[in-house]
């Protein structure tokens, strides 16, 4: 007879949360900042093809950090949900809240189900309204928690340092230039052993997108290209690429821990 080890539910959930958090913290940070005309997303992402920020619907955008294949699946599901709802009802019936709810249920179910590995992702769902007061940013965490963010929000990597910088420098209702300047400076800000360093991130390594309510088209999402980013940021001094990201260890190679033991017959 095999005798399974007893693991308390608290411990089980803590282990799963630690696992997810570790995965999310491995990547770089992403910030969402409210500005006068909508919501701005900035992340340091050298890849031009694999986006962390994308369009879901007319007024809704999606941003994520963590494991790419997992958040890509969630993004596609979001696009399908939104298009399906907009097609069968009306474009105005697609809301960020509905989408955030669907994501929360999905992430929550996966996190607490025994059979699946928890998703190592954190997500922002942002929706732009007719005025600053109507703009919303929802934060969704790996365990399905939803939080309503105001002003600015940071996730992934060294989120605390970046958030602390934004807390000191963020101002409501800023122009795009100012908001982008603060967001990029925040991403370049780092603290190591009590020493703060400020790095100028190369324009080519920035992924920048906005939900801009002043766009005349019904689709308010727009990516901001490097030439325009350069123009918006102005002169910043010599730039410095980030140190290479730690490669993601394959799932099965947690060799520091004890190797799994086959159950006795």
């Amino acid at each position: 007879m095999s005798m399974p080890f007893y693991v308390s539910p608290e411990q089980l959930m803590k282990d799963r949360a630690d696992f997810a958090r570790k995965g999310i913290a491995r990547g770089r940070s992403l910030v969402a900042v409210q500005y006068a005309d909508g919501v701005l997303f900035v992340s340091e992402n050298p890849s031009q093809a694999l986006h962390k920020v994308s369009e879901i619907y007319d007024r809704i955008a999606f941003a994520a950090v963590g494991r790419y294949n997992e958040f890509e699946n969630l993004r596609i599901a979001g696009v399908r949900l939104a298009d399906m709802r907009g097609y069968s009802y009306d474009r105005r019936d697609v809301t960020g809240r509905g989408l955030a709810n669907a994501y929360a249920q999905t992430l929550g179910t996966i996190f607490s189900s025994g059979g699946e590995k928890p998703y190592e992702v954190e997500i922002f769902v942002a929706e732009v309204g007719d005025s600053i007061e109507d703009d919303t940013i929802y934060r969704l965490t790996y365990e399905g928690r939803v939080a309503d963010e105001h002003g600015y929000a940071v996730m992934g990597g060294d989120a605390e340092t970046v958030a602390a910088y934004l807390a000191d420098h963020y101002a409501d209702g800023a122009t795009l230039e100012v908001a982008l300047g603060v967001a990029v400076a925040a991403l370049g800000h780092a603290t190591e052993g009590g020493q703060t360093t400020d790095r100028v991130i190369p324009v080519g390594d920035l992924e920048v997108a906005v939900l801009d309510r002043t766009r005349t088209q019904p689709r308010k999402f727009a990516r901001i290209r490097p030439a325009r980013i350069e123009e918006l940021l102005g002169e910043r001094g010599p730039s410095e690429a980030a140190p290479a990201e730690a490669p993601e260890p394959p799932l099965s190679a947690d060799s520091d821990d004890d190797p799994p033991v086959a159950p006795p017959l």
Binding site: I76, Y87, A102, Q105, T106
Partner: protein, 283 residues
């Protein structure tokens, strides 16, 4: 969106086509998936009529009249039959209005869906082919009198020109280089375009040309509506260039229509084309 977990099908990568996704997971939402009782249903639903399109260097113009008919009755006098398909293309519809509008809605979502999932815009030929597939799916209903015959046109970003695609009810598509017409008044409109079209038109001339062609269609086809001066209802006109598709404002079309109608007061058959090359047109 319901409050439960997102269904697994939504999370599976695979198709970037919204209509393919619908046909697998919500086939009832597809406009062409209805089975009709035997017999013709041609007279039960309003029909849209004439659409014309013409290219000019750097873009194209598509215009549609505003009439929908049901037998001898004018079902609607301000229907819109030209729609933006996406930022760089437009689609105009002739045939059963209810089905056609639904097909356009599906086509619009189809293009946007692909763009969002893939992160890139479909080629103009790709868009035209997708529309073929949607029309072909409607063949059964077309056989029973509920045909939808759209026209698709767009600015080809790769070639830098405006291109027009015509369709038949089986989804067969053909490209037209200079101008094209569909709908009940299309023969008369095409005759007008044949005589008036030149390949060096300016944008403004091209817009006026389409208004002239629609006037001629309305002149000889009872199902096509001419400019309604008393109600100020004018053709819907889209101009597509490298800057994207733009709908002309009512005032803009109104002043062109006023000028066209005023000229017809003197010469009801419209502008005169020369009979022999080199000959001046006689007024």
């Amino acid at each position: 969106m319901n409050d439960a977990r997102i269904p697994t099908a939504y999370m599976q990568p695979g198709t970037s086509s919204f209509s393919d996704f619908l046909s697998e997971h919500a086939p009832d939402l597809l406009p062409a998936r209805k089975s009709l009782p035997a017999g013709s249903a041609a007279d039960i639903a309003p029909h849209g009529t004439t659409i014309v399109a013409a290219t000019f260097p750097g873009g194209l113009v598509m215009a549609g009249d505003r009439r929908a008919t049901m037998g001898n009755v004018i079902a609607q006098r301000d229907i819109e039959k030209v729609f933006p398909a996406d930022e760089y293309s437009v689609v105009g519809i002739a045939g059963t209005a209810g089905l056609a509008v639904e097909m356009v809605r599906l086509f619009q979502v189809e293009l946007e869906h692909y763009e969002k999932i893939e992160g890139s815009i479909l080629s103009l030929d790709g868009k035209a082919n997708r529309l073929s597939a949607l029309i072909r799916a409607n063949l059964g209903m077309a056989m029973q009198g509920l045909a939808v015959v759209p026209m698709f046109a767009g600015y080809d970003l790769a070639q830098g020109t405006g291109r027009i695609f015509g369709y038949d009810v089986t989804g067969g598509r053909h490209e037209e280089r200079s101008f094209f017409t569909v709908g009940s008044g299309s023969l008369f409109a095409r005759g007008a375009l044949k005589k008036l079209y030149r390949d060096n038109l300016t944008e403004a001339e091209c817009v006026t040309l389409t208004v002239q062609a629609l006037y001629d269609a309305a002149d000889d086809d009872s199902a096509t509506g001419g400019p309604d001066l008393s109600r100020r209802i004018f053709p819907v006109i889209y101009v597509v260039t490298a800057d994207g598709a733009r709908k002309l404002a009512d005032e803009e079309v109104g002043s062109i229509a006023d000028a066209v109608v005023a000229a017809r007061m003197g010469r009801p058959d419209g502008p005169n084309a020369p009979i022999l090359p080199g000959e001046e047109a006689r007024r």
